[in-house]
Symmetry: C2
Subunit: 498 residues, 2 copies
Amino acid sequence: MDLDSLKSSEESLDPQDWQALRRLGHRMLDDMFDYLQDVRQRPAWQPIPAGVKRELKKPLPQEPHPVEEIYADFVNQILPYPLGNIHPRFWGWVIGTGSATGMLAEMLAAGMNPNAFGGEQIAALVESQVIDWCKEMLSYPAGASGVLVSGASVANLVCLAVARNSESGYDIRKQGLQGAEKRFTLYASTETHSCIKRAVELLGLGDEALRMVSVNADYQINLVELQECIAADRSIGLQPICVIGNAGTVNTGAFDDLEALAGICQREELWFHVDGAFGSLAAISPSLSVLVKGMERADSLALDLHKWMYMPYEIACVLVRDPLAHRNTFAENPHYLARAERGLASGSMWYSELSPQLSRGFRALKAWFLFQEHGIQKYARLIEQNVAQASYLASLVDDSPFLERLAPAPLNIVCFRYNPGTVDEALLTRLNQELLIRLYESGIAAPSSTTLAGRYAIRVANTNHRSRKEDFDLLVETVVGIGRQLESEYKEQRLPNI
Amino acid sequence: MDLDSLKSSEESLDPQDWQALRRLGHRMLDDMFDYLQDVRQRPAWQPIPAGVKRELKKPLPQEPHPVEEIYADFVNQILPYPLGNIHPRFWGWVIGTGSATGMLAEMLAAGMNPNAFGGEQIAALVESQVIDWCKEMLSYPAGASGVLVSGASVANLVCLAVARNSESGYDIRKQGLQGAEKRFTLYASTETHSCIKRAVELLGLGDEALRMVSVNADYQINLVELQECIAADRSIGLQPICVIGNAGTVNTGAFDDLEALAGICQREELWFHVDGAFGSLAAISPSLSVLVKGMERADSLALDLHKWMYMPYEIACVLVRDPLAHRNTFAENPHYLARAERGLASGSMWYSELSPQLSRGFRALKAWFLFQEHGIQKYARLIEQNVAQASYLASLVDDSPFLERLAPAPLNIVCFRYNPGTVDEALLTRLNQELLIRLYESGIAAPSSTTLAGRYAIRVANTNHRSRKEDFDLLVETVVGIGRQLESEYKEQRLPNI
């Protein structure tokens, strides 16, 4: 571009007609409020028509396109086909629900659009406040270090990176794992979430380093086996560094005995990490907090706020007891990130030094809004409500002649299957797989599945603030109805793949 | 909670008064439109008053708080004190600007609030479309694998993880780095961004494994030294695995000779990764694309969309030539993530298998909106505009008797300092440090700083779609004015810390 012609040709991405875009924004907002208010009237899930998939696919746009038309495509092609997790009868995996205020806060954050990496800016102070609230609600030490990240997978990765670096006993940032004298080992139960395995792999420790300890009938880590395993590893020259405790396992919502694990880690001088993705929130409920006794002794803790605090994606929190260990794992000080005593490059909180992210959005803002909007006591009641609803579902399952519960339900997760009274395990698996698909296709409800001791289970994980008692009645009624239908199709041999 | 009392006590996080929240939402939207429209009238940055910092700090909220009051606090305590990167004269670090439509798209995404981990849901299809557009605009192979992540730091981490695992030659996920026979090495120039070092550390490879190759006068990697370094490492029994090329360095916007690096990697059988955080976007401009020649041959590529595509935080893209290598680095298949042929758990795109994140927000939606709203040709013009503006600034610096340019400005970054004609380097550093702080405090403009060959530089990185030619005139005028003021204070010894 010719410099002389620069000014006359200058353009920006701001709208040419601010009023028109503002009007469209108000229409979008109204549509989304309708969408949230009416969610109970829509199916929990529906398949995406092949035609929509075709229409969605477009070559790289070359020329500007009216934003009203893009929005029309959004309304027709995107809005009707979500995962479904804002629906009152969505209970798949462990997925939060979001809220209208959360949506508004995300709009504000995207309008301000700071890069919350550090410096003297308000986003850093808001993040600091949210992290302080997380510590306070979990009874975690006030002097601990924290950072908000995308989710528990990354939170666990961050914590295990700090554990690895702190416990290695040499300059592992410089020399890497290939500079180690001994091989490192970590310990967790077989019920531990796969993100722990993925973190261990990413950190270069290797799966073999992650010792999977068996669980008892309540799906809690076997403490005797854990200690035997640590001793055996030491005896063959390995270097144990970390035990991972579960506050709420993904399969059944089980809690390891965190107090016992804290004691073992203290005696054995190991890093004690707790994966509390959703279960750590039990701490805020007077009736459930006994489940997480000992969690406050953890060296590091990972929790999601987009699961059992129902905030919009993405937001999770890392807490590390030793702030220096946390910072020493991630801080870099290149010239282009130099600090100053005053001005924009001052400020005491550089969150870019506490996780793999340098550029960071303002995810703290929604949490700042939502903690205040509801207050922690309401969150506690909702968590208790979800647990009571799960107990209610467990009782419905137990009372039904057609349903079989497959695991204890100590928290908010219920695993069960339709079983008309056969012992043919392969048949039961195929039957329940088809049943779950038809349940999805009915649009009535959306649990997910797992396999427990070889048995395929329909798995309801309730981190849904919109669910009501009647929703679980409808679930059971529908599951039994589909199950009986499948049985009759099976008997009439109209069901080739069962 | 008593199960019988469950129904009567049930509550949710939905507003008790939907109409009131809807009205507040419309007010927020209007306020944010005003905020964006008037941004040029506000200071580029202003310090946070101590009183605001005090007021912001609160104990964990116990009881619900009216959302109107929370919003009032937001307006008074948060909105006025951002980093400043949406302002037309913010040019610090490499930080994008955002846009009004981007803000609206983020609201829609947070309202739908899917977890875009996988399954049969529209968010996966939208993400697939955005990734296809990224490949097309960068002339990267259509068969490549891709995933959207938080930023280039994580994108580079993902790419280097794939490089490490693919090139190791054994089952590194299982055995870890301690199972390697030889020590691995990677190669990059001394101008490479610190996130590469951080990724190498996190992956357990150790800093020592990252060979920092010197640069020429244009801040490009020294190709002869690179090849000598690879050969020397091989000769002492090390195992080179990867070369990292820069498409736009953070200090000066330099481009390594990517075509030459691609050739070296081909001959040496090394993984070729390109960090194209912002510079890769040169590919979309007919006049700049020559700079990234050879980038399309990379085995992996990291780019941000929240930098030089000006999208709201957070959004970046990973591209990996070999889809299987990408998937094999991250995929886990626990029972609770089982797939199905139909229903919610079907679908062919499981983005949770392509990065450390399992839970994932709908970051693709804003990109889907913005690619279409503007079209790639407008993005190309804006990038060219930013480069022309940087050239204009460089010419102003070169024409000023008080300013000294400290590096070539091949792209959008200009490094310079105020220099009244002294050779006292220590004095120049202190003078320019104070000058930059006073520039911030003036509210006029917000560049950042770096150090080049020991010389402290004010660094203007222009990834700002709102900047105009006149903004650079004002910058130079202000810098010279502050500089002359500092000189006179210095002469009168009124400036103790210079």
